[in-house]
Symmetry: D2
Subunit: 344 residues, 4 copies
């Protein structure tokens, strides 16, 4: 299988390179760029020295189908809206890691992203790539809208509860904490080391664009009232923890929650359900495609509290993209993703 | 004024030393310890080298009133329950930074702290030292129960809203994030650098002993149903952010919230209310006694979202203790606490 | 005393504000800027909220002497070369934290800084402000060239040894490690959190412009052959450690070294000599003006090993500038600098 | 191939598990422990959840040869001295990651390690496992003394220069910086997060036990006078940088150095020589088995400056152990070690 990456010089793109380099079914990786064409990736990123890398090249739609079978887009907003259509027409499968094609309602996209949305026809073709819950449609998809990092952590924790009718839908609060790699490689004062280390920040209060993505997915199991999703920036590079609070809609127990999660994910190789009374930390999944989920029913308050952790560049971006790539092409779901988390 | 510290070798004790060393009204600092008597603090902590420090000494209740006027207790659970009474009888004022005397209901204490509580008579004498809200009683107090770090951040954010009847009391969720210094100086695997850096942890899920402290204080403005308080450990040394979510109980707006907070704290030198649309970060208060509060009314969800930050060793411990010391003795409330936050 | 700062929005400028705000002899602080005139500092830096700050204003040389007595320049290369002369002529004292006036040889400046040097006449007026060693000339100076951060750490460790003829001058190796705040507030990929945390970097190999500054000062005690000075970037915000290696020029011992350092600094309030067998860490001086020095004579290799630590923004920049300000104006050398290091 | 690990619950042991789990030639991993027998590794380390792990078990020398072919010892001092002999007699190959068998001179061991050394006969059997330089002897070895982390970084940088007679042997200074994982999993105040973050420390001044290990290896190319090796602790988890200074023994140039290093390592898959003028950072090798080496000839001082980086748990411990395992058994040298460094 020959694959291409647009946006290889960003952090999700780098992570795709790291994963696809050792993927048993990938024979060739092509890196595409319009602005940096001719450059080689290992000059930009010394950690990639000593491997053979072809120079970044411009996309030529007339030749692309001869070069690769699948294109990964790890790009800023707008790129996928423009390029996915032509790439599909050229006969490729496309896995889009950006947010361009995740929201089915164009008005919602334009309100939260504050930019024009992709064309309706394109959006309709895109399958939302939450691997564990859309497996059958992903298997036959040509175009994947790979989920956002925060939605992945939140949805894997919430869907089993929503599906079971276990929580009051208008009581959901998602308090999320992320490392800085989610903010990308462009230096800003928000991610300047001197102002980030020994600092904990809240950002995009009640206005983060992953909010409608989470709501849209939960709505698939019935109408979803607006929920509160609030991201924070922790002084670390990788990792997301979503702490979720919701009122129980019926009498619950920790045993019931254990059963609920275990049965939801019994065939999911990348979701690990914590034993009752134990909780995950982001480092437990560092560098891996796992999502670890711990939970507790708090009788005092009648709330379910769930903590869900992922590596934002893996299950929150490149890892899940490769998982979807595997599903689309009939490979083992874990191919190229077997790495044990790095600890400590 | 001559002051003493029991527990000077812990982090709150060290911070008391740092503050009292340059306090304009403090002429002498005595350090007491039973276990480390004879030791000098600058041998244990090289950052204190080059200052003159008398050796740690044992408490002699017969002589203590001749040595000092006020005793600060920066001690583990149980010490204050034992020593505060005798110290008061010896004629001293006592400021207790531990949790021994904060909860008025002994049963609640024993349930959450899982140890015997202090005597009822002693607890009744203790004034809860949330400086901004108990100022008049603090001014005449002989015994202060200095608030916990998380309750300080949470209560300063919540009391104005509760007092105004602005939020539904059974909807309160407090998601708190703390640096490691709150866990003290004893090395544990929870705070081992290799397992803490690049890691974000949740702990004591639905069971942290600061929960009833917050509830008890809020109940002063009417019955307080159980609320959710959930702490997390961020990979940094100092700083707490409490992110608070609550349903509005009446039609609100950002303007109303601004007025509510500004009028609540117009005479509070250490509470800084953020301008609408801006939010605090823990580093904004690093090394200072400030509590910075930012907020937002989210019309979509009908929730108020408040972010409150403190330096856990300052406003969350030693700083507020010195603030209370000032209030008790008629000094300027800011004496010894004028330091500008250290940034970056 | 009324003081002004040019470059207040940089990190050294911010640190000057922090120190001068509570300086007992400073009644007024004026902030000057050409590019950001009209802006207020607390809008740029929220940690300064709640204090009264006049807007940044342009310098008017005709009025400046009526406004302030002393100007601090915390500015990029070139600014001091241009402004120090006119400010002196306007009757002010000037303390320059930049490197413009530190090197007496203009050719050396132009070679290492790769830009035109200041005028010879101006350079000749500047007194090198290494407080401990140039105290008498600083006391009568009108223009101070405040030392660089690395030279301060290195020189305080080396001068006593050089003065005593204890080390072979051509054997000196200075391996220095700095936090990121020395690189300033401008976001770059070098200081981007994602690429700085969990990373240790070497930079400007054999080419850092503090090299000739160290050599020039050591040459005052006889010719100084070229030495090796090599900086590194550690994943922390504040702090410098210089580890220094030199061959003994005569039979030495740890006792001799102890005497040598103690006698060199017996009247220096900000230099703390470690007891034999103990060594400093950067956190021991965090937020303070101290320089802590530990040392060892290694009989096996015949080398002296010295470790010297400072807070780069304090003794390495703003702190030493205030120390020099005190010396110039006959204030207590420690005025405004009494803060105990913050720990942990 | 079936392999065993003693010391699996330490950080080097964990890293061996991570590597061997996906090693193409390893069919079974047995974990041995006397003190924790019966425990399962994934209860101790949640990042290992979801994999099948047999409980830790005691070693039975009578059965061990039926269970495994190779034993890795990732153990504290003394364990290997005791167990390697019996394991060899039982027919196993042994790879010892501890320092027990690295020093050929028992007196030197006892002086630096301050404990009794292993038996002479055992030490004589051990091959020093610096893969790149002892390849032919490693290939036929039954017992490997895997190099220390600091010696690996230092020797890979120094041997090409020593071999070429390019540097004065009595001028070598090695200033090394390490992350905390090298200090192991036991919580201590040295590695307590609150006292390690935002801190840079020097330790074991002129007395680190890796010093004689480096000297012994360099002596293989002629007598090696004592050199200075000085470790420091940087506030990060993984990574070592050794910065090395030495006087040139003959006229040198950057071009000559480039040739020297490139020819020394042209067939070494894990040593990457930096292009002239570029230097490594520890994050370039994070999680991988690479050693990246950058260098510069400083004409001004006549010194060669070399910076060498490794991941201390990989090339500095478990990675090199697996590399040696591959060499010993005729597998591809890179088997199980192909992972691209994780960045950022």
């Amino acid at each position: 299988m020959e694959v291409g990456i647009i946006g290889a010089t960003g952090y999700s793109g780098l992570e795709l390179i790291r994963l696809l380099k050792n993927h048993p079914q990938v024979t060739n990786i092509m890196l595409y760029s319009s602005s940096q064409s001719g450059e080689t990736i290992n000059r930009l990123y010394p950690h990639l020295q000593n491997e053979q890398w072809k120079p970044l090249k411009e996309i030529d739609l007339n030749k692309i189908s001869a070069e690769i079978d699948v294109m990964f887009l790890a790009t800023p907003p707008g790129v996928s809206a423009e390029w996915s259509g032509p790439l599909l027409e050229a006969g490729l499968s496309v896995i889009d890691l950006s947010g361009d094609l995740r929201l089915t309602d164009r008005g919602v996209y334009e309100k939260w992203y504050k930019r024009p949305s992709a064309k309706e026809g394109l959006i309709e073709q895109a399958i939302y790539g939450l691997s564990e819950w859309n497996k059958s449609t992903i298997k036959t998809a040509k175009l994947i809208a790979n989920p956002g990092c925060f939605p992945t952590a939140a949805l894997l924790a919430l869907i089993p509860l929503i599906q079971a009718g276990a929580i009051e839908r208008d009581s959901i609060v998602i308090d999320a904490k992320s490392g800085t790699s989610g903010a990308g490689k462009s230096p800003t004062s928000m991610t300047h080391f001197s102002e980030t280390n020994e600092n904990f920040k809240i950002y995009q209060v009640a206005s983060h664009k992953h909010t409608p993505e989470i709501e849209q997915q939960l709505a698939k199991w019935g109408a979803q009232p607006p929920l509160s999703f609030q991201p924070h920036l922790a002084p670390m590079v990788r990792g997301i923890m979503a702490t979720i609070y919701a009122k129980a809609a019926k009498p619950l127990s920790n045993e019931w929650l254990t059963d609920c999660y275990n049965s939801a994910y019994e065939n999911a190789p990348f979701v690990r359900i914590k034993e009752n009374g134990t909780f995950p930390a982001t480092k437990h999944v560092f560098g891996s495609n796992y999502c670890d989920i711990g939970f507790c029913y708090d009788e005092r308050t009648g709330r379910v509290i769930v903590a869900s952790v992922i590596d934002n560049l893996m299950k929150g971006a490149a890892g899940q993209a490769v998982q979807n790539f595997n599903l689309m092409h009939g490979f083992d779901e874990t191919a190229g993703l077997e790495a044990v988390p790095m600890y400590p």
